[in-house]
Symmetry: C3
Subunit: 264 residues, 3 copies
């Protein structure tokens, strides 16, 4: 397996893919700015009246259930169906999976509509989706990403997709293949929307790299390396949030390749 | 009456309570980041399909009517009913009370569902809720917090709750008891979401301190002291917003106790 | 034609008009902070139950279709109808016009409800509204603002309103009159919500300046000059976003007049 950090980021920057997000209210602004900073073009649209048209002009669809409600779920399903028909990659972010039965039911329904390219969540969420009886504390993980390995593998087999488990070490799985990305700093867990941005950026890479394992690994490394670089500028969460967007924008493809710590 | 600034903040940090917010679109990101920075764990969920489950795993519920609509009000009512059944503290933020009849009707309905632990608003909002015929200018106060004292006292008696009136001096009332917190700087009124964050942080303290008068005073002092510390770093609103989140994170319990200016 | 940069900004600051926004989820926080920073008082409210009451106490209404859905469109229509009855200026921001048929249909419906004072968009959006068969890439323009001149003129005649086309040079049109504002820097396109804030600030100026051509030109210059000043402090998008809010707050009326580069 080969991972193309440098060429993927170069390609993302030159093609500036449109990423269609149906995401939660809390992170919309940060997600849009993160996508712009990495070089993609974000759009948010959720109404059933337009999601099919929007996803048709997009390079990828990112579905995030952070603040879900039935009318939004309708839009998610319709967008996913259309994306699948058109062969556009879908990223699912199962925010808060395991926190309430409703979230779990919705996830189940979404995964019946279409198979995602990538599922990206924290360990609690991934373990919950795989049927572990773990209790997610709201939207925060109560488990280590490495604890989520077998759950990730099970999900990957079940839905024939890449599963990316964020944590101190990001664990990315496709079938029996596993990649570990050991980038990032603890401060990344102290601001909201980091995971959601990781999913959105995975969508941006999936829009330009048809090998979604490669795309998911690049996204994890991009987040982690940018977090480390931002951490050199800021050690408190408000200023870190800003430094992180700056780091995404300033990140050079060669630097991403050089600073990523990947083991397979 | 005793106020436990140092031990309350220490306790908040060590228990990291889950605070369930049903709040407005404008401030969700800032509120979530403020809760993380002070040491709590935020979650936003509003759908009737899941609010009861979410509030069941939370330490407190914060209801904010800033961008309300009927379907959100349904979620607020259901969450409040469940919180009351489970004995979880509820904080109400009456954003824009008095600005439109709809807001006033909704507030009335919410308060019939369950008695809050704390109502936190600006003077216009509190005076409007208490029946003064004051006109709120959108969501900004047109009155001094100290003008709101008698209104706060009336509300406190009516709903058997703590009422916290934010302003140059924060006035916190429980029945006939009154506490004044003279912290904070004018720049705090120049960014959106400060009041909403004050309510969310009151929820975080109420989750760990069953004496809600103590909790409300600690929240007011936390906001004010952090605002003052942030004001030493930034004198314009964009950078102040960031410095404020940094200050919340960096605030030490002993520092809170030392810098708070409380009179009773 | 005369443009009153200095007196308009002075008047905006002294009267602090309430600007009622029905806008998209992505930009609400930034828009509210931008309005506060320039000296206006923002309020967000979208429910049909209260938009008429809210717009009745506001100085201007700003309608932005960035994340539209039917229930929000109902609120937009009702608010616009009431604003028109009361003679309050309406600003329309046609975010993503041309990206989906739904957006185009909604825009058509909104413009049948009431004639706006100002339509402010990027060139793709304005050209799409005028019937050019241009494809908007999500919410980003694929055309130069100067390419939008004839489309802007057509729209201005059709709806008897001012049309402001944002870009490297902002082109503002009223009938056969044209003004060009050559302020701003490319970094302004690298964060989300800049266009939306431009529309909101146009609403703030329209609330205090009944000559909407003057108001739209002042808004464009305010954005561009503040962007240039912020660019002296920050060269990456995260920190630029913050520096921009700081610059709006710090902008002096005389400075606006001095630094604006207007040609007519």
């Amino acid at each position: 397996m080969e991972f193309n950090f440098e060429s993927n980021l170069t390609s993302l920057r030159s093609s500036a893919p449109l990423v269609h997000n149906i995401t939660n209210f809390v992170v919309m602004n940060f997600t849009a700015n993160a996508l712009l900073a990495i070089g993609a073009s974000p759009v948010m649209a959720h109404a059933v009246q337009e999601v099919e048209d929007m996803v048709s002009i997009a390079g990828a669809l990112v579905v995030n259930i952070g603040t879900l409600s039935p009318v939004w779920v309708d839009g998610m399903k319709l967008a996913m169906k259309k994306a699948a028909e058109l062969g556009k990659p879908i990223v699912i972010d199962p925010v808060g999976a395991g926190a309430t039965p409703y979230r779990d039911q919705v996830l189940q329904q979404l995964l019946e509509v279409a198979s995602p390219a990538i599922i990206r969540g924290n360990a609690s969420e991934i373990m919950s989706m795989a049927g572990s009886h773990i209790r997610t504390k709201g939207v925060d993980s109560t488990a280590l990403s490495t604890d989520g390995l077998s759950a990730a593998r099970a999900l990957s087999h079940q839905y024939d997709c890449v599963v990316s488990v964020s944590g101190a070490t990001d664990v990315i799985v496709r079938g029996n293949e596993t990649a570990y990305v050991k980038n990032g700093i603890p401060l990344m867990t102290r601001i909201t929307g980091m995971g959601c941005s990781a999913s959105a950026i995975a969508g941006a890479f999936a829009a330009i790299q048809p090998d979604f394992f490669d795309a998911a690994v690049c996204a994890a490394a991009t987040m982690g390396v940018s977090g480390e670089l931002a951490g050199q500028r800021a050690d408190l969460p408000g200023s870190f949030q800003i430094a992180f967007l700056d780091a995404l924008e300033a990140l050079k493809p060669a630097q991403l390749a050089e600073l990523s710590r990947l083991t397979i």
